[in-house]
Symmetry: C2
Subunit: 252 residues, 2 copies
Amino acid sequence: MEKINSPKNDHIKLAKKLTVKKYQKDYDRYLLEGPHLVHEALNAGVEPDVIYITDKYENDRELRPFYNKLVMVSKDVAEHLSATPTPQGMFAVLPLPHNSLPQPLAGSFLLLDAIQDPGNVGTLVRTADAAGVGTVVLGKQTADAFSPKVLRAMQGSQFHINVVSEDLNKLTGQLQRAGVPVYGTELNDRAKSYSAIAKTDQFALIMGNEGNGMRPELLAKTDVNVYIPMRGRAESLNVGVAAGVVLFHLLG
Amino acid sequence: MEKINSPKNDHIKLAKKLTVKKYQKDYDRYLLEGPHLVHEALNAGVEPDVIYITDKYENDRELRPFYNKLVMVSKDVAEHLSATPTPQGMFAVLPLPHNSLPQPLAGSFLLLDAIQDPGNVGTLVRTADAAGVGTVVLGKQTADAFSPKVLRAMQGSQFHINVVSEDLNKLTGQLQRAGVPVYGTELNDRAKSYSAIAKTDQFALIMGNEGNGMRPELLAKTDVNVYIPMRGRAESLNVGVAAGVVLFHLLG
C-alpha cells in the first residue's frame, strides 16, 4: 500500500483544499472525514477517488473491496487533514453529488433561508432525512453542505436525501404554481399552530435564520405561517429542534 | 466607573476561573457571557456580583439599575474572558442557582444520561423549557450546565426551569414509587412509537448518550421505551431534536 508521511505531499495538499467550497467546485470533489461517514459513503455506492487511512484501519474489512483506493497516511498527515483536534484517521475524496429539483415539483421540501450555523444546517438535513422529506433546498447565505462541520452534523444524510441549492424567492413561486403549499415559520397574528395543520406529503416548509427568522420578502410569499406554541418560558427553539417538531407532525 | 485594562487583574483572573466547574463550586458563582444572556439574568431577578462591559455598552439602558455593579473592561480583557473568538463585550458574575427536586416528586422530568456534547445539553434544556417540562436532571457524565458552551446553547433557560444534578439510577426508582412513569428512549422489540403514548403531564423521559444510547442498567428500569419511527433513511436523530419531537407530543 502506498504511504504518505508528509502533509506537504501534493495529494494531501489537494485533499485539504477539498474542505473549502471554492476548490470543491473547481475539482467537483469533497473531503469526507471519519470511519462512520466513509463507510456510509461506500455503502451508498459512492465511488471514492482515494481513501486515506492511518495504520489503525489497515485491517478494516469494510475497506477491502476498495483496497486499490487505499493510501496509508501518518498521524501527522491525519492531523493536517482533520477538522477536529483528535482525528480518527479515515478520510475519503468523493465526487460532489449532482442533485436537482424533482420534475415535476412535488412531494415534501425543507427550505433553509440563511441558516448560518453549520451544525444547524447539518442537523436540519439529518432531521429532514429521518422524517422522510424528499428534498432539502439551501438558499443563499445558508452554510455550504459540504463544509467539514456540516458534514459531521449531517451524519451521512447527503447519501440518502436530495440536497440542492436554489434561490428561494424564485422557488417558492414555482412550488406554489405546481400546487405545493409553502409554509413559513414565523409567529405573527395570522400564524397557525403547527398541530392545526393536517398531516400531508405535499408541502414546502421554510426555516429562517437563527437570529432574524425568515427574510420578509420570503415571508410575504408563504401560503400559511406555522408556529410552535410554547408552554414554557423559552423565547424560541433551536432551529433544528423546531423543524423536527413540525416535520414529524406533518409527515408522521 | 471603574476600569480594568489588564487580563492579569485579579478580579479578571477570578472571573475567567468561573468558567470552570471546580472554581464554580468553590466560589458558588459562574461567569455568563453575552448581552442577551446577561439581560435575561437581570430580567429574571438574578443579582450579579459584577457586570463587565466594553465601552460599546456604556449607555445600555437595561444596565442602568445596576450602575453600581458595572466595571468597564478593555477589548483585551473581553477577549481573555470570552469563550468565542469575537466577544460581544458583556459578562456577568452570577450566583449558581441552588435547585432541588420538587417534593413530592410530581410533574414532568427530562433526565439526561451521559449526554456529552455541551451544545446538545444546552439545546436539551432549552427544548425542555420551551415544551413546559418542570425539571431537567443531569446524570453523571453529562456535560456540566454552567460551562460556556452549555450556557450559550441553553439561551437563558437556566433562569426559567429547574435544572438539578442527580444519580439517575436512584432517581428513577424514586420517581416510580411516586407514581411518575419513566420513559426510556431505545429502539427495541418492546418499544412503542412515541405517538402511541397518551399526552400527559406526569412522566420522566430519559435521553441517552449520543453514540451509545442509554446505559443498560438504566434501560432495565424504565416502564416503557419509546422510539420515533423514521420514514426516511437516517439512522438516528440528533438527541435534542429527538427530545423535542417526543416532549412536544407528550406535553402538546
